[in-house]
Subunit: 217 residues, 2 copies
């Protein structure tokens, strides 16, 4: 099966990777022409990718002033985090019970997460993967897609937090709590704990950023 993919999608992935690696820092201006040159394509697919990222909330755009990486703003994090907490809890409630193979994959991911030190990007990839595996059996594809696109937002905040606060790894404790609740209380109980862990995480990040923008302009 040969796969062809629109250039705009490939460009989207590349830009997203740069954002996640921090090459494009919050607040930085994003010029389509330089990205196009760097990626060796024309401005058109680049702009299509940028418009998509803007709609997803990672970039912001002002008419005539192009794109910039949206500055971190703890209010935004709380807004998106609240939404994600509800949606991921919903996905969990809609999922069939966690079977043994998937449980083992989750535990395997947690082990790798515990061994990773100092590599922010890898940590976040593992964290994303953990969530993906936990929810992948949910039959509501549309919901999973929505969750996937929203998760980009907290990811940026976590990255900034880990780098700035010198945290070298992510705790796997929330994961364990969720799995425990799932095993003992079923989907509803797991979903409740899931949402609760989201709130806890939000509070932790907010206590770090304090009030106002996490990264001053």
């Amino acid at each position: 099966m040969i796969s062809r993919v629109p250039l705009r999608d490939e460009v989207y992935r590349q830009i997203l990777a740069q954002l996640q690696r921090g090459v494009l820092a919050p607040g930085a201006r994003v010029r389509d022409v330089s990205l196009a040159a760097q990626l060796g394509v024309s401005r058109t697919p680049v702009r299509e990718a940028l418009l998509r990222l803007a709609r997803e909330g990672v970039l912001e755009t002002t008419l005539g002033r192009g794109f910039r990486v949206r500055p971190l703003d703890s209010a935004e994090l709380r807004e998106v985090g609240t939404i994600l907490g509800a949606l991921e809890a919903l996905a969990l409630r809609l999922s069939p019970p966690l079977d043994q193979p998937r449980r083992e994959r989750l535990q395997q991911l947690d082990r790798r997460l515990e061994q990773t030190r100092g590599d922010v990007s890898t940590c976040l990839d593992l964290e994303d993967e953990w969530h993906r595996v936990l929810l992948e059996a949910c039959p509501n594809r549309r919901l999973l897609e929505l969750i996937g696109s929203l998760r980009q937002i907290p990811r940026r905040y976590l990255a900034a937090y880990m780098q700035a606060a010198g945290r070298l790894s992510l705790s796997t404790l929330p994961h364990a709590k969720i799995l425990k609740a799932l095993a003992e209380g079923g989907a509803d109980s797991g979903a409740a704990v899931f949402e609760q862990q989201w709130q806890r995480g939000l509070t932790e990040l907010e206590s770090w950023t304090g009030r106002g923008p996490a990264v001053p302009a």
Copy 2:
């Protein structure tokens, strides 16, 4: 204050209006060049608007084959409806108590809804507006935005349902139930009833479409 708006946004609104009026029927192919001619702009902003609609799920796109209006598929309706039920319930829980002026605006909308007969588009506009007013006090702007973009999906199904099944108006009974629960039981109770009404509505539409695609290809 003179307001300038990107062409792509204006084009987006125009195309959406055509979709809502049924000028662009489900399954129909959408050619950017003819839309561009019709609107008197170039293909570029039209394509930007179409890509956005595709990401929002109203259109679908295959590489090299352009855009088409996504055929109605009752599975999609259930997926999006479940998400919207959860999100609108969440928005309600996050909102301050409904004050009297807003309650009156809602009742006013319901009266207009009851008087409207046979004009599907007006009915749906009023229904959208009712939801918007109910939730507008929710402080989570991001959530409201997401709800707004998702609501386009069920709107298409409602339109098809009303036209095909010869329903001339929408019932305001669900609205009344929600307001009653809100008044008597507070936000949580209202949210629960909200979600329940969503499920009821989904079931009603599904019993009409039966299994499988609502509109055969």
